[in-house]
């Protein structure tokens, strides 16, 4: 009898992998064939020995070693994320520290283009005997620096009571009196001719 065709089914039957109908057919054949009976017996015995040989438990130290290696690797990968988070936090702190100054710069209105002569001229109080450079008249009065003129290529030629001023020098300080009514604006225009000086006095609403 050629039993080669039974080998695969017998091997499957040894591991209970055949459906009942096929299993019954194999059992019938094995009952009549000594060689196939030995094959089935040998397969079952080997499977049992194999399971037994591989049933030894693995030492817990091996599991712990794997876990430690994996966690170490993952922790190493997560480190850059922390570094990025730290950098981001530092950047935020820096931004918060710098922001008020930056806002002051941005919010401050750009100085209106003022005629050079106006910027160089003392306020109208100069004509009433006050310090031509706008020195405070008394203690406790606030001082602000006037915005620098947008363009000034003209050298002041010795105004009344003051030394000549040149471009780039600090603009004069001006006393601010918030509660006082607006004073008339006086503009002194200096021409190329040193003998010709034009005064323009505006008595509008502060303009």
């Amino acid at each position: 009898m050629n039993c080669g065709e039974w080998e695969e089914r017998i091997a499957l039957h040894a591991g209970c992998d055949l459906p009942p109908m096929e299993a019954a057919a194999v059992d019938r054949h094995v009952a009549e064939c000594a060689a196939c009976q030995a094959l089935l017996s040998g397969l079952r015995q080997t499977a049992g020995l194999l399971r037994e040989a591989h049933s030894e438990p693995v030492e817990s130290a091996h599991y712990a070693a794997v876990r430690a290696r994996v966690l170490s690797e993952l922790a190493g990968r997560q480190r850059p994320r922390w570094a990025y988070a730290l950098l981001a936090a530092a950047a935020m702190l820096l931004l918060v520290a710098v922001w008020p100054k930056a806002r002051r710069v941005v919010v401050t209105p750009r100085p209106q283009p003022v005629p050079v002569a106006q910027a160089l001229m003392p306020p109208v109080s100069a004509f009433s005997g006050a310090d031509p450079l706008g020195a405070p008249s008394g203690p406790g009065t606030p001082w602000v620096r006037r915005p620098r003129p947008a363009a000034s290529g003209v050298t002041r030629k010795g105004g009344p009571g003051g030394p000549p001023r040149t471009r780039g020098s600090a603009p004069p300080l001006q006393q601010v009196e918030p509660s006082s009514p607006p004073e008339p604006l006086v503009v002194k225009l200096i021409t190329d001719d040193p003998d010709v000086v034009i005064y323009w006095i505006s008595e509008g609403k502060g303009e």
């Binding site: 080998e7 695969e8 089914r9 091997a11 499957l12 040894a14 591991g15 992998d17 094959l39 040998g42 397969l43 080997t46 499977a47 020995l49 194999l50 399971r51 037994e52 040989a53 591989h54 693995v58 091996h62 599991y63 070693a65 794997v66 876990r67 290696r69 994996v70 966690l71 690797e73 993952l74 922790a75 997560q78």
Partner: protein
């Protein structure tokens, strides 16, 4: 109490469900970067991964390397794993694939005919029949198989998966897996019988 006992008997797979729930919770937590949760997940499945890798690769150091790689792949794919229904099947598949990759880098499978040369020289035939020698031969018998035959046999006969589960884990059809399993069983039996016959 009686109701609980009845439920426990009616659902013998209840432990498995609890295990899968625990895995699902650990996966969800680990997905947020929680390494403690991921360690819990590893503890739940480390036997499956390490023992399978050991059976497929044949030595502990390689098995540990393979297990490490499996868990790193698991970490990278936590999102996909959560979506897939059968987490152990996914783990078996990845473990087998990692072991395939490692096996390719090492020596190919050893022909059965050359196997007796691997036996310990001068081993006593009487001792060979028992204990350590027999275990060594049985472990060696798996190395005589091709990678796919070995994987099919290990998952079916040693891990106890059904033929369908083995097919799912190996990405093969059930018919292919059954063929691989039957061939592997016959080869292992022949190897073991031939070995001991020659030694005696």
């Amino acid at each position: 109490m009686k109701a609980l006992a009845f439920l426990a008997m009616a659902n013998p797979a209840g432990g498995s469900d609890a295990g899968s729930d625990a895995s699902a919770r650990a996966i969800a937590a680990a997905r947020t970067g929680d390494l403690v949760a991921f360690e819990t997940l590893m503890r739940q499945h480390e036997r499956l991964v390490l023992v399978t890798a050991l059976r497929l690769l044949g030595n502990m150091e390689d098995a540990k390397d393979a297990s490490q790689e499996v868990f790193l792949r698991l970490y990278r794919n936590l999102g996909k794993v959560g979506a897939s229904g059968n987490f152990p099947a996914w783990l078996y598949r990845v473990t087998v694939n990692v072991c395939y990759d490692m096996g390719r880098k090492r020596t190919a499978s050893i022909p059965v005919e050359d196997a007796p040369d691997l036996a310990a020289p001068g081993a006593d035939p009487h001792q060979s029949a028992a204990g350590t020698e027999r275990q060594r031969v049985l472990h060696m018998s798996l190395r005589m198989l091709s990678a796919k035959e070995r994987a099919a046999l290990v998952l079916r006969d040693l891990e106890g998966l059904s033929t369908g589960e083995v097919a799912q884990a190996l990405g093969s059809s059930e018919a292919t897996v059954r063929s691989q399993i039957s061939q592997a069983r016959v080869k292992v039996k022949d190897f073991v019988e031939r070995y001991f016959r020659r030694r005696i």
